[in-house]
Symmetry: C2
Subunit: 380 residues, 2 copies
DNA sequence: CTGAAAGCGCTTACAG
DNA sequence: CTGAAAGCGCTTACAG
């Protein structure tokens, strides 16, 4: 059935069977450690451990799993043997027997709507923070993390990964649309949690930033700084996040003056930010405040404003969004909205675990992470 | 043995056994789809598929694995049945039988030497690019990726993950020291590849940037721009990368003048860059060129130089390293060294797979990824 | 080209 | 508190 090679666990060096001896019922496999000719037996399976300890593999299994049925003496003895032999059990066998993987998946979009390959992973600094939070939390609770890309146009891969029992559930990034593809392949009670606001009210559980509130805070900061003609750049319909930021801006501004805004099509690029700011200044030369939907856009806007001879924040105050690392060191340092991505990652893991464990009481449909205004030079 | 719940694959909705019928030897499990009361049978195992197709599970297994023994007619029939029933095989069972995981690990350091938790994941934009390259390549060759943190002081976790057969091998980030811990737990022929230069000549296989050559190119660009008093900031011993960059600088400069450098202790922070630049100007006021070991340091240096009334690049030219996204939009746009992290990720995967497959001919001990000079305003 | 059977290495209900 | 045995769902050498 299996090849001979299979009987030798990868160990310190190229394993090489030299002799097979039967002693006290235990098959001892000797291996030539070809670096320093040190010879050591290989312990591969629970059965090997059991035979060394002189117990059954049932007992060995229970001992290693801290099953209270086993006496402390026996348990400690077996655990010591396992440790001394660097025994580690076969994950696949465990997973087959228990029908659980002890692993969750992080699914990242292979393409976004503009077909940029893995752009979220490659270019979004916020992704790093969330990933770090997810990793930290999975580590804390003793789970492993699989990371995999998927095509938002055919999310069946997510369902397959769970159905194969390779993972117990999935955190899904960057799917902002609950399209038919999702609804068709993935039921509402599937062990899955989304990062981000969905474009439509969705049946799936989500964790997201509070974009509306963040945008309101940002705009309010401009109002509090005494600004009266406050514009918005960053688009208003491309994604739920963008829509929510635009709504937050309008909410804060409605009693002041009519909204001044420019739609930023496509991505949140520096180039687009410069172009939007120029158009805005042409249309409304009396602007004295700008809320930009991202820090990159804010920096682009500031560079245009400076070119036009405006001083920041005296003539025009600017507030960004995201609090990227650069925001602090930009001249002028950027006032912006910060969301704790690390905490978001931790919450995503906890929420997914609750869903997997079916703890309906503790699972809210929508979880929002806090937003904070970081006040720096560009608006104070 | 197993609970009843185990017999119901997670499916469109909360699974709920309604009746168990025995028909033509096939146990048909009916499930009430409680959203729309649609009723559908569940196909969980190869055996189920085999019975529907009227073949043995041996044949079903071979057909789904495209085994050429099976006739095309039978194969297509079985594959269609599997597809129609959204059948996906149990990963753990497959893994146990084949003793392979079809998965590789990406190990990231939980702590660096200064005990910053997951700083690499959280703050290194280059990590994103490498991760995207790794993901893209594992996807291409049909492997999955597990990402896990480890404590560099006890890398036994890496060996355990491989020995449990949860992964077939590992890409290790951010371990720049081959300390005894590594040597003790992980043999030279272990299926593992490191990102980065090791501090000492190591027995392990590595992929890394060509830091010496990058630094030489950067310094040469300053020389080519006619600069004579070229300084270096960025430290010279903290890590192999930093050492190599310092060496590259010295190599390019040796015929020109005596090296001028400041050690940057600790992390490559903006604050540290400003401090180093101030010290350097105090010591050598006649500096006309600066090679900074990172773009962040270069930006910090430029901000200090501007404060001191220097114009860039006329009075002092500056070259950075990394080509972070911001480098292009900084004023002045930064001349810098670029390494293709995405390609590095792809190479890491290919190299690890070669190691796993034991293709000694095609595996070089050290692989260096290309470095390029990106010429922008700060040095031209 | 196909099938019956053994095996992969765990876990655990059952019996003692 | 411990063990023999069955079972998890695959794969494949062997026999036909």
């Amino acid at each position: 059935m299996q090849s001979v090679a299979k009987h030798f666990r990868i160990t310190k060096n190229e394993t090489q069977p030299i002799a097979t001896t039967y002693a006290t019922g235990l098959i001892i496999k000797w291996v030539l450690n070809n670096m320093n000719t040190e010879i050591k037996p290989i312990v591969r399976t629970l059965d090997d451990i059991a035979k060394i300890a002189g117990v059954s593999k049932s007992t060995a299994s229970r001992a290693l799993n801290d099953n209270p049925l086993i006496s402390e003496k026996t348990r400690l003895k077996i655990q010591k043997i396992a440790k001394d032999h660097n025994f580690i059990k076969h994950y696949g066998a465990s997973s087959l027997s228990l029908n659980t993987s002890n692993t969750i998946a992080l699914m990242v979009p292979k393409y976004d709507e503009n077909h940029y390959d893995l752009v979220r992973v490659k270019e979004d600094p916020f992704f790093n923070k969330v990933l770090a939070g997810i990793l930290s939390q999975t580590d804390l609770i003793g789970k492993e993390l699989l990371i995999s890309s998927f095509d938002p146009a055919s999310p069946v891969k997510i369902a397959q990964l769970v159905n194969s029992r390779k993972v117990d559930g999935a955190i899904v990034f960057g799917a902002t649309d609950e399209n038919e593809k999702f609804s068709d392949h993935i039921p509402a009670n599937f062990p899955i949690v989304f990062w981000g606001n969905m474009r439509t009210t969705t049946k799936y559980k989500t964790v997201s930033g509070n974009d509306m509130e963040g945008a309101r805070l940002a705009t309010q900061a401009l109002i509090d700084a005494g600004k009266k003609n406050i514009a918005y750049i960053g688009g208003f319909g491309e994604s739920p996040e963008v829509s929510a930021r635009f709504e937050g801006y309008k909410k804060a501004i409605h009693h002041l003056n009519s909204p001044k805004f420019i739609s930023g099509f496509g991505r949140y690029t520096h180039q687009s930010g410069e172009q939007q700011m120029r158009q805005l200044l042409d249309l409304y030369p009396d602007i004295d405040g700008v809320f930009a939907g991202s820090d990159v856009l804010a920096m682009a806007a500031i560079s245009v404003l400076k070119q036009k001879g405006k001083s920041i924040p005296e003539n025009v105050a600017v507030v960004g969004y995201d609090d990227i690392d650069m925001a602090e060191f930009f001249k002028p340092a950027l006032t912006t909205i910060s969301q704790n991505g690390f905490v978001a990652g931790q919450i995503l893991v906890d929420k997914l675990i609750s869903i997997i464990k079916k703890e309906p009481d503790s699972i809210e449909q929508r979880t929002y992470i806090d937003v904070h205004l970081i006040r720096r030079e560009s608006c104070q």
